[in-house]
Symmetry: D3
Subunit: 341 residues, 6 copies
């Protein structure tokens, strides 16, 4: 089966229990995740051999990252040890009209202080057929951006498919005012891109006419402009999330491939148990779909949307459903939500 | 007041907290319940004298069953001690599009190993006017089925009203391929039956034309076929549950009696706190309604539906609302949901 | 900046976790609040200097009240120590069709046993420009009513703006059958009144034609009758809450000033995390709005409604959002509910 | 078997989790207990038929008392409903050198407002052979003291054995400066008394020479003086607790009967999980011992000490061990503390 | 490095939180363990390559076993899927004089229903140098005993060192009255045996003169008799546990090899956080010691005792300390218990 | 009353619940503390006016520091806002032979990035009579050391008493190999020093003959050498902690003043609930004692030791007992640990 390698930072996530605000919390729930690790864990849970490349400190918290990846069957040969600290993020989980809040505390992390040559990319990408990175890695530090590019180049050289989730985060990208140059180098070598219009705007200043982020046509137009700029992109995808409130969204996706545009069915997500990692679970579903159903892109897209619809019902960063769970939702619709007994 | 005896297995339920998946749980919430015990506890809470007949092991977990029944005022003279283990079931509580999951672990339980003659049925049914059983007891083992029939026969002999919730469970019925014979003997002696179309199909191969489980007319047609097969049934009832998702259902019921068909009002259940025991709480409300409001069947039906609508807001197997709470909902509608202070 | 003084009782609130019923609870969540303290805490969190006047017992529970007020920056020079016990209330948090329940246990509290002369009103109101009281204080005991009037008179004498939330509670007012006389004396000295039609009916026997509590026109008519009776009232306001179920309400408000009637936008509150303190958070938002946006009453009203819409997403009695959070909701609508990262 | 009736108040106990101080607690653990109810529950768990006489309010908290007593098999026909509130007490559980703290909040409770004639003593004591009361009931209010005496007189008239735990509590006895008169009337009709030297001093001003509460001889001397004053007392007992710190005590007892003095073995209690209810569990063990082993007073005494040694390892007010558990400790000593598997 | 294979059942352990009794528990803490898996996890945590051979059901609970083993780096190629249920055990954690209680619920488990030929022993033992089994496997069922012998024979054939923890459990061994025959066949092929005198007595009817389980000399005498019966045993070891109470034990060990007898230092374990798995952690430490320090048996023994002394401070079945933690205790004694910062 | 100002970093502390290891924790308990803030909170709780000088980031976590200090009545005018992050530390709470572990994550914190001139020392020290700093502040960064010296100089100029807890932490002091120079400048202006022999050795290379940290004489000798080096020191103190295991220490202190040496009584701390902050609580007790009982140094010392003995029974960084609690222990000894009711 195709083997997928993912590269990125794994952080400790400290989230307030229930819907407590930061100032109310006397405990924090701890889990370990990050955009790309969430993809790897979901893929492994789908039965796709997945390996992970990252760097963690040589302390008990760094070891928790090893344990968590191993637990889900992700191969950890590419996890390096060193540096000063594990990146953290604090999450206040919103509800109703009160949005969730994230406080990043990931500067100076072991991952952010990766430098060129630290990772034996050839060893870790050999035998793989797919490499996944996201826009978060080049955002955390200049050296991490360089290491990410190092990996993308080696993946290209070894002939892997390369996918990227643009994942623009305004609170990162502290070291430069112009991420465009960095992202251009990376994206010019990438085959499959998950890109929301706001990401495309922030990175490349690209927008289509008649800005309306909730309009599928607008989303499609932006993807077309992106593909024009990066003709190497074979598959461009965007998720369509409409926010009714923090507990209630609608969810679908649109895929552009060879001028063909596909739109998925729409899911009414209510209640949302945990919205963080929703896009990552979509990305994992998309990679799975493109690998296993390359002959039926509509199914691949529907799989990704259904998988990520299920993720919104799961606490924690990572999607823990299996292929059978996704298939059940695709076949049964809401009847799938009956008690299984 | 009419005294009601119920017969069935009481299990320890181990459910994941919040909406955790099985693989995420480090704790399980424990409570004690079962289809028929849920009926007995709800009746006792309504103020109807209720007694329970079952068998539990002679250990601390079996003792918890005694304590839990006593706590709600259920008479426990009919609880026998013996056998190897208390039946268990594990519950993963779903949300949104992710359904709840049940893992039964009830084979070889003290109840499943009941044998003929163990229960002094005459002693435990004397002085009662109603006997309730469900399709779960004959499903757990051949000997439990025989004991259930033993009880039904004695109840008939003593002149009790007999009610049954068909409760078909595909994960049970391991010892036989044809539950029809067993259920026919039992149902031929039963006066009040709660039967959903799928139950009727699985047990007796009966279905009406134009299968549509969400259509009241289809439900009514199935009940009519059932009553034709079992003319001894005086009252046949079905609940009408439409699943929007695991957290949101609609809920109503339909009753057939002497060719008269009654339909209740419909409740929009959102959010659902705990869906397990919803049918049991309806059954308890129905028995209460038929006993106390035998002259107003529409009210009896509405009572049962309102009582079970309230159950969906309560964590645990059993419905813990009082008659006054149900009456308040019947009178006030959604205004009843204002804070009471 | 204008300084606001509030007077009222602070209780320990003991609420069942999750949506447990009283009979299920093995733990209670404890927090400290009360209608007027909730106003003071919200104002302090908005950056308005707020001080509080109350009385608590000389034990560790009374001290928790000091700590909680101080924590949010409320000035506690006016907190007196003495008496026998801290008032309590128990809260069962409902869901769906099951309403929340309150059991008050506040008789004989240190606050209820306040007597004339105990409070040095002049000292505590000096330097302030606003005084807030609510209908709960005169309801708890005859002597508390007298002390409340003592405070209102001093506030009047010192030239403060005076506001009141009528807050009728049927379970209080045990010492008299006719609260009208007491409330008339108090209201005749009050400038800003938050009054729901049911409050007005219970206190003063006033109702308008065509009773319909969900109809803004009816609400406006009642306010007009109230202002006719109390021409000293400059601003009369009512909240418009429609209860779909205990987890889902709609929420808006209507303001009457100088024959001008303003209506706010309507919020769909779903899910409601904690409905208690919703009115208090509105009152705090209104005082803030009237102080800071006295030249734009529509904005003042919208601010109060948005602030209290956010409160419904927060567990505990008090609203803990900041002015910026409210402004973000006012500007962004549901988009404000996206994750902030 | 001998049936035992107990009379007293049942309170809700709200204790801080772990070893939190009051000011740290955000949750309180709730259970239901009281000196005499603890005796009744322990006796019922030993298999002795026990009934309870008390009064609780007609609300959901009062109902929890019913449920808790029933759960352990205590007969609740003597539980009356009425009055304003359930008595409460708050418990901060100490550790090491920090003592546990109790804040009583039981004034004006349903029990404290019992009045003469409310209880049908004859009905509730008929068929019983033993009546137990404690010094707490006459301490809570003058009318409760009168009702307690009413009960003691009826017990005497019906020929029951009467036992008392003196249980002096300095924070109660608010209504009188001289409990002596009241206690004298009660004790003059009592057969078995559990009395610590400090109790005897506070009630009757009796002390022996050379005050040393840790000295068995001093304890015996005080009991002799007590029996001289009340020659009706057949059995006088005292527990011998030496406090190393709040987590570590030693524990034994001394019994005086017909001039014979018996001393039990001493247990080293370390760690103490919950010290509250230690004396009550001794009292229950003593009643059990005197009923079942009246021919072997030393065994009766040892049973009571061993039972209460076990109680110190159990969270909550009541002792939940069985006769077999106590026997195992009596036979096995520390070997009894090995894992049972 | 030497690779160690372990064979045994992995169960879900459901333990009461804090020191709650079974009847008090509303939640159970869940973890996964078993005598032999505890050895494998501890070895893997020491850095010794460990693989595990067992059988779990094909459901979400079985999958938790896979995840837990993988998390600690145990190789899971030998985990088979099939059968009906995961074995369980319930644990009530004692304190003071109240012992911990275990309720086994492991009959009919996937492991108990293993049959000859199911396991490809050659594949799973190839490349290993050590095989570990315990007396629990042959105790759970006749077929499991046969499979265990199958494994031991293959290990012998492949030339592995074989170790065994006798682990007599009176609540198991239901299928036969004479475990001696079975254990004799197994032990006759075993090189390293952990055997307490009571185990030896129950299995083989062997005891030495002057029974005193706390006396090292008595323990040594029993080991000598055991080695006389099984001259193939190269190393016989016993732990010396003296039970002060359930929270306080002393702990040491004695090793017999080639007529040489070694005794370790004694540790005062107080408080004990979790006593379950104490012997397993000793076994893992012993295997580690014998592999890494075969030239210094005293150090090997001290390592095993120190490792297991640390285990008593860790909640859960398995010992999670590293070699460095053990070395620190061996070097520093109680000073090792200072805060590390 | 004398006003005390303290300067130092406040961190979020994230500790594992119960005695979980880092790898087991799924939640962390959060509180806020630091060596000097613990002193300020304890002083405020003793009724001594205390103010605090520090720097926190402008986010919700920084705000929690404000709230926590205010809650205990510490004056927060000296809390500055700015910088990137709140310092953190992770705490694994040990038990028995397993030591507690601390992982610092405080580099690059708002406090560590303080620079000269940021703090208006004159404003914050005016009106105070005592200034307290500790060896942790100069250890976190070079600029923090400079700011600390800036403060000490201003305190000297304004005539305040200056105290210091040497608090050597090997995991800090990353920026220099020779803390001696920095500490010499600071200590040369300090009047009261809490210094353990290991601190003195690490900072100044000073040790006395016959190293034995548990020997009071050795401790006294080291203090004498320290005072010889810094003749400005009026009072030198050391605590005497002997570690039996992580749950059991003994605790006393020794004071040197004008060649007079005083030794306190010794406390047997068992069990220890939370050992972190033990020294800080002693320091607060010492400042209190020196201020309030300057005429009775032995009492001052005993007060500090008793206060900190009580701290070991309290979870969290700060000592929350009152003067009356300490006095009760000083007067009553172990009897003080009886339940207060």
């Amino acid at each position: 089966m195709k083997k997928v390698a993912c590269f990125g930072e794994v952080m400790m996530r400290l989230s307030t229990p229930g819907h407590q605000m930061f100032g109310q919390a006397r405990q924090f729930n701890a889990c370990y995740g990050g955009a790309e690790a969430n993809v790897a864990i979901s893929l492994a849970t789908f039965g796709v051999p997945a390996s992970f490349i990252t760097r963690v400190p040589a302390n008990d918290l760094g070891e928790c990252v090893w344990q968590e990846l191993r637990r889900y069957g992700v191969v950890t040969q590419g996890v390096y040890t060193g540096g000063d600290r594990l990146g953290l993020y604090f999450l206040e989980s919103g509800a109703g009209f009160r949005s969730s809040k994230v406080i990043y505390d990931r500067s100076h992390s072991s991952f952010a202080e990766l430098t060129l040559g630290m990772i034996d990319w050839e060893a870790h990408l050999a035998g793989h057929e797919w490499f996944h990175w996201s826009g978060i890695s080049p955002a955390v530090s200049q050296s991490a951006a360089a290491v990410c590019l190092e990996g993308v180049k080696m993946a290209k050289k070894l002939g892997l498919q390369i996918s990227c989730d643009l994942n623009y985060r305004s609170k990162l990208w502290q070291y430069t005012d112009s991420p465009e140059e960095i992202m251009t180098e990376l994206l010019a070598r990438t085959d499959v891109v998950l890109a929301n219009p706001d990401d495309v705007w922030h990175y490349f200043g690209i927008k289509a006419e008649g800005y309306d982020i909730d309009d599928p046509a607008y989303n499609e137009a932006v993807l077309q402009l992106l593909v024009q700029k990066f003709p190497n992109i074979k598959t461009a995808v965007t998720t369509l999330r409409r926010t009714v409130n923090a507990s209630h969204n609608t969810w679908a996706a649109l895929m552009l491939q060879h001028d063909e545009s596909l739109v998925s069915q729409t899911y009414d997500l209510n209640p949302i148990i945990d919205r963080v990692g929703g896009g990552d679970s979509f990305m994992a579903g998309l990679i799975y779909g493109l690998i296993k159903h390359s002959d039926d892109l509509q199914y691949a897209l529907e799989f990704a949307v259904a998988a990520s619809a299920l993720k919104h019902s799961i606490e924690g960063d990572a999607n823990l459903v299996k292929v059978a769970d996704v298939a059940k939702l695709l076949e049964g619709g809401s009847v799938a939500a009956r008690v299984s007994r």
